[in-house]
């Protein structure tokens, strides 16, 4: 990443050291009308994503779609290869011998659904992402250890550097940092 012009502001980041405090702060930020917000925690906190207004993800839908695709693919592969392209008579069984196709259909379903879960999660999270402005905050290293953060992005219509700073401060943050973009 090349040097950015110093005017670039990604947003303001408030630091908390207690899960209750961060959830409370996130709720108040949301109630105050900020929408371009985000929160960070070292472990999953259900209340926190709800507090910033995020309720439903599309992972399960992706997994379901991939699973269906896997099932159809697994069946099509076996049917086409062993009944059409290379008709194989095994012990006089019919060419479409569904019971003996079931194990592989099942495995293909699970395989594709799992890839759907893994890659879907990464894709929707836009990972891998080697650079992100939040890493410019020195204390953010503790977001993966024992600190909790709420960030208001600069592109929020209500964002005003000084006012937002004061607002975050009033929420009882340990520290409010400016996030360089």
């Amino acid at each position: 990443m090349t040097k950015q012009e110093e005017s670039g502001t990604y947003g303001l980041m408030a630091e908390f050291d207690d899960p209750n405090a961060v959830v409370a702060a996130a709720r108040r930020v949301y109630e105050a009308g900020y929408r371009r917000i985000n929160a960070y925690s070292p472990y999953p906190i259900e209340e926190l994503s709800a507090a910033i207004g995020y309720h439903k993800d599309l992972v399960s839908l992706t997994v379901f779609a991939c699973g269906i695709l896997g099932a159809i693919g697994g069946f099509a592969l076996q049917y086409w290869t062993s009944a059409i392209d290379y008709p194989l008579n095994v012990g006089g069984r019919p060419l479409l011998s569904l019971p003996s196709f079931i194990p592989i259909i099942f495995e293909c379903t699970v395989l594709l659904a799992s890839f759907g879960a893994f890659l879907g999660m990464l894709g929707m999270n836009r990972l891998p992402e080697p650079y992100h402005p939040v890493f410019n905050v020195p204390s953010f290293a503790r977001a993966s250890q024992d600190r909790f953060f709420v960030c208001i992005k600069a592109d929020d219509p209500k964002f005003n550097e000084a006012e937002t700073h004061a607002f975050l401060q009033s929420l009882g943050a340990r520290e409010v940092s400016h996030v360089q973009s």
């Binding site: 472990y43 999953p44 910033i52 194989l88 799992s114």
Partner: protein
């Protein structure tokens, strides 16, 4: 369970899942230190040297095997399946405990699993890798093993999808892939912790790359949790299907002693039995060596003993049913097979099997023994051996004396059968040593959710959010740096 709640019903007398006195910072530090420490512990180097010799033995055997062919093994006609398939089934079975712990116990909300799941999943991966070696080499021409997969080829042929051996290819490769995805996904947030904790540039960049830019974003966590839960839900039927399909390799064949409908459940129970024994075999020394008794507590050991006891009883029931069915079938060959199994030339192995898998584990009924690490370790060693013997009994004894006495033949393993088998143990342990040293063996973020302060207290949040009392004024709990 009832026995554990002794005097007062309201007091949980079980040992804790996580030792007292831990907070977010101390917990992170303790797990991260094992990975980020400079240099190596003397004991680690010593142990690694020994197990790496085992791995080298495996590599040499494989090289010689590829050079000379499978004739260096003791396999013969009629015993075409011997150590290779025994070891394959043994290793796959061991792997199953990892998935059981990480997926099934997650779905059952058994939070005690959080400290052992990563460890058990790694065990799964390495065990499946060892397992995969055997059938791949048993094909005789391992350089054309890609023929096993359906791909358009100039021969104009496709694999036979009605064969259990083909199902096996799909089941085992799917299992290996899904286990890897599950394991790696669990590691992503922990790699981020390591990236942020690392002082050294090299460590920072390697763990940074592996973490893929994870930053604990609340939306990311939400999707992550959904994906993790769904993967657990997918792995649960998968793990049952894998050993079921492995058992189909036998039960679809019309060999006396193999052609039995009890095989799938009996094999799955055996797999979990063997896997938990292996988890205990590894966890007992590791928790001592790395002083992580406050993360892998007596509670874990006890619970695992109970799972072993339960699955061991199912396996014992399986043995009983095999006996019963061979008599009830009224089939001469089935009855002869059973007689041969118990009193034939390999009969002592059957009795050893009963000793290892049925008699010795009954010690675990006694609470005193479940709490005694030495006893637990020895019992799990017996089970490891017993489960190997079980596969020997099933595979070799059904083959060596089949329908016509003219084709009977004894099977004797050669030195290469043993170097290959012990070599895979060396290879497996080599991988475990590397894993423990370079990857957090206890999931850091999942352990955090077990701490009492991790829970969001709705009352407190409301109090804080409504601004009753300025937020900052209430002294928030401080976490030591």
């Amino acid at each position: 369970m009832a026995a554990e709640i002794e005097k007062n019903e309201h007091i949980d007398t079980r040992p804790p899942v996580i030792g007292p006195g831990h907070n977010f910072a101390s917990l992170t530090q303790k797990i991260v230190d094992i990975v980020l420490m400079r240099g190596f512990k003397k004991g680690w180097i010593f142990g690694f040297a020994i197990v790496f010799l085992g791995a080298l033995m495996l590599f040499n055997t494989i090289a010689y095997l590829v050079l000379k062919g499978v004739g260096i093994w003791g396999n013969n006609i009629p015993v075409g399946w011997a150590f290779d398939i025994i070891n394959f089934v043994w290793w796959i079975g061991i792997g199953h405990a990892g998935t059981l712990i990480s997926a099934i116990l997650l779905l059952l909300r058994q939070s005690w699993r959080n400290s052992i799941n990563r460890f058990a999943e790694a065990m799964t991966l390495f065990a499946v890798a060892c397992a995969g070696l055997f059938p791949a080499l048993h094909t005789g021409r391992p350089w054309v093993d890609y023929w096993l997969f359906p791909y358009p080829n100039t021969m104009g042929m496709w694999p036979n999808f009605r064969s259990p051996l083909m199902w096996d290819v799909f089941a085992v490769s799917t299992y290996a892939t899904v286990s890897l995805l599950f394991w790696f996904m669990g590691l992503i947030p922990d790699f981020a912790t390591l990236r942020d904790k690392a002082k050294n540039k090299v460590q920072k960049s390697i763990y940074g790359m592996l973490a893929m830019g994870w930053r604990g974003d609340a939306r990311h966590w939400h999707r992550y949790e959904s994906a993790y839960l769904l993967l657990a839900g997918l792995s649960t039927p998968l793990v049952l299907s894998v050993h079921t399909i492995v058992s189909f390799d036998f039960s679809v064949g019309i060999i006396p002693g193999w052609h039995a409908t009890i095989f799938p459940p009996y094999f799955v129970a055996g797999a979990i039995y063997a896997g938990f024994a292996m988890v205990l075999t590894l966890a007992i020394p590791v928790r001592k060596f790395y002083n992580i008794e406050d993360f892998i507590t007596l509670r874990h050991i006890r619970n695992m003993c109970k799972v072993m006891l339960a699955t061991g009883l199912i396996v014992g029931y399986g043995y009983l049913m095999e006996l019963f069915m061979s008599w009830y079938s009224g089939n001469t060959y089935e009855m002869f097979m059973m007689k041969n199994r118990i009193f034939g030339p390999y009969g002592f192995m059957y009795w050893l099997l009963i000793l290892c898998n049925v008699l010795v584990p009954q010690l675990l009924w006694v609470k005193k023994y479940r709490d005694n690490l030495l006893v637990v370790f020895i019992v799990s060693m017996f089970i490891n051996v017993g489960m190997w013997l079980e596969r020997f009994v099933i595979i070799v004894m059904s083959l060596n004396r089949d329908f016509s006495p003219a084709s009977w033949r004894m099977y004797y393993p050669t030195i290469f059968d043993f170097t290959m088998f012990f070599g895979t143990i060396g290879f497996f342990l080599t991988c475990m040593f590397l894993f423990i040293r370079f990857v957090p063996m206890i999931p850091i973020f999942e352990m955090k959710t077990l701490l009492p302060e991790a829970k969001v207290d709705e009352k407190k949040v409301e109090q804080l959010a409504e601004g009753r009392g300025p937020l900052g004024a209430t002294p928030l709990p401080q976490f030591g740096d």
